[in-house]
Amino acid sequence: MSARHPGSHVAAGSDDSNDDGEDLPTVRPYAVAGGRRAPSATELPLEALVQALSTPLTGMTRECRRILELTASGWLSVAELSAHVRLPVPVARVVIGDLQRQGAVRVHAPVLPPADRRSGTADRREWVPTSDRRLLESVLDGISTL
């Protein structure tokens, strides 16, 4: 298993990955992304959490400043940031990846099953069951108390 550990530089090695071949092949992050590659959905999943480590700096884009403001007092997911800052998810991934490289935010990403990319086989078993039984049971107990 090549599962990564939570929060360990999820997007830091964004250039050494082959993942982008499969993720949303027609996506063109534009404008604020400035042509930079978006961290893949495996690196920065929708539910990955972001927290500010820095206050907004002069010269930062409006989007960066807003993300730092929103996450100054607690964690927010990539999906929530995308919605609040009104950036499409692939673009939000680029911006958050940049902030992470600058040390302005930290990211806590769930350990996701690695995508199986056996050269385009028809049977793409991308989904691997959540194998943490205790976690599932905690979720079950939690939902039951709602």
Binding site: G7, Q51, S54, W75, S77, P129, L135, L140
Partner: protein
């Protein structure tokens, strides 16, 4: 780097889990999410697709159209510093390519069904069944009225015997909660199997 936020803000990150809410257009996915979510359901553009549509009649240039795909979602805080995200799938079959992102690492999926438009959920049932993803079929009872027997729905969708088919009411928290309980129980069972 500028000054850091106060140390107290750097609390341990919650553990995040997610469940996918699938189904056809306007079947009640966002209502379902809203019945349980701690936050007002949010909407984001989950992806952009661009299509070059060839020569533009007017200018003779390549014209590109960008389609944005909206996705609604919500969040539920559970005891033990757990955050459960509910992600609604974009409503049209042609966005199935996006679902891989949504389901990777998910506990499973709820396929929300409107029996008046049963065919709208075929693609979702196919998708989860082919990948062995735990899912339940939840028949949304509009106005509290069940218009079809669950056995008829099961037969029409040809879902395997181990897949629960149940009634729900997307507006009613007890019903949507029970739907999620049924799904997670199934995921636990599938793990044990």
């Amino acid at each position: 780097m500028a000054s850091a936020p106060s140390e107290t803000a750097l609390e341990a990150a919650p553990t995040t889990v997610k469940i996918v809410i699938a189904g056809g257009f306007a079947v009640g996915k966002t209502t379902f999410i809203g019945s349980l979510s701690d936050i007002e359901p949010l909407s984001t553009e989950a992806a952009m697709t661009e299509h070059s549509v060839g020569l533009d009649d007017a200018g003779g240039r390549d014209r590109k159209t960008t389609t944005t795909v909206a996705m609604d979602f919500g969040r539920i805080a559970l005891p033990g510093n757990l955050w459960l995200y509910l992600f609604g799938t974009p409503g049209q079959d042609r966005f199935l390519f996006m679902w891989d992102d949504l389901v990777r690492g998910a506990i499973g999926a709820v396929v929300l069904v409107d029996t008046e438009r049963l065919e709208q959920c075929f693609a979702a049932v196919d998708y989860f069944e082919q990948r062995g993803i735990p899912f339940v079929v939840a028949v949304n009872c509009f106005d509290g009225i069940a218009r079809h027997e669950l056995d008829d729905v099961r037969e029409a969708l040809a879902v395997p015997a181990h897949v629960p088919v149940l009634y729900t009411d997307a507006r009613a928290r007890p019903a949507t909660k029970q739907t999620l309980v049924t799904l997670v129980q199934m995921a636990v069972q599938q793990l044990a199997a």
